[in-house]
Amino acid sequence: MARQRAAAAGASSLVKHALFIASLLASALFSVAASAQGFSNSEILGVPAGIELESIRVRFTHFDQTGRGYQSQADRPNLHRPGSEDITIEQPQLEIVAKQGKATHRLSVPVDIITAASPDALDAVSTASRVNEAGNFQLDTRYQQDRRTAWLFHANFHLEEPFRSWTLGVGGAHAFAEDNTVFAWSLNQVVDWLDRFNIFGTRLGRGYRSTTNLNVSLTQLLSPTTVGYVGYSFTFQTGELGNTWNSIAVDMGNDKIELDGEKLPSVRHRHALVARLSQSLPWDGILKLSYRFYVDSWSLIGNTIEAQLYQRVGRHLYVRANYRFHHQTGVGFFTAIADVAAPLRTADSDLAPFVAHTVGGLIAVNLKAPRLRDLHLDFGYERYFRSNDLSVNIYTCAMGFLF
């Protein structure tokens, strides 16, 4: 019996060896046959996906801001009056979009060159450096798994004189109901490192900030001329949530007022709900409407309404007019002059209650050019102004090469 089992095992082993040798021989024969017919590896396996350039865009924007805020020490006549928030920013941007098989990569490099009344803490007490530079390297990749499903990857690095920021994000989009509905989501994690200064410009070491952000949205075709969108965004922030050198006048008692730093909570929960509508108009125009409701754990409530009207003029030219209205209540601990015993305090004009308006326009042209699908040019102007003494003129122009 044992001999029979041993014989059977030997036969099974022999069969396995025979099959292995046969498969090797078959593989070798196939390779010989393939080379005899002149097939290359790429002909057998397929051509590896190369990178195909889709577009290159450059944009230049100039921001010219004037105004006053209680957090600024620049050109402040006295502690009862706000300081200067005058600033100019030059913002060149480069964007390259390339396709690689099912993936589309978008590399963006925006740079900010800031000339301000007080761009950083050192300028709170001296004017040694009134120019600051900031740069971003951002890579977005969209992988189209199939006709209905796409995956999104996002990476960003931000570099600034006293500040570094890293972002990683992942997301997805899925179309269903015959592509009438698209559900999208994304999850982002941001880590910021910043140098901490006091209001006199003394460095106090390094601070950090963490931001975790979740977005979900639904885009729906509502009619042959209408698209709707609803989105919700939740953001959780913790760590150092200010720039650390914003100042505030503090009432010390006995009519004595001194300048000190702001005190902010170290945690912030932020919720934003957005509804948008894009409507094609019968006269070759498009109307886009948007409403955003915002609320956070600092008791700040915001309402934003935006309208954009596009009008095509001929085949190659279009113009855009836009208006944006924003109202916010301000954080619960905003004040121009704080009590010395207040646990939280800020005089930052950006956290104050105010109403803001943006009006603007843009003219764009898409021209045919040799070796290009389109040559895009646009010029735009916007004016931002708000009720607590801040206004910005924004001039922008762009050139895009679409291959």
Partner: protein, 74 residues
Amino acid sequence: MNLLKLLKVSILLLVTVASGCLVVPQNRRAKLADPLMAFDEDAQEAHKKSKFYSTREGAAGGDGAPAGGGCGCQ
């Protein structure tokens, strides 16, 4: 009462939209294919806008932007 009605209509609309009951056939989507119909047609302009508002308005941002909330340091 009006608020309750508005809430009910909103929920009904959301459920209708989410269930994909509204179907526009492929052959009637010519107008929708216009690139200008997209909500974010220009990534550079979207970045410019996002950064501008998130560093000037406490209620802006909250969408993954690094700082926001009045911190003009980025």
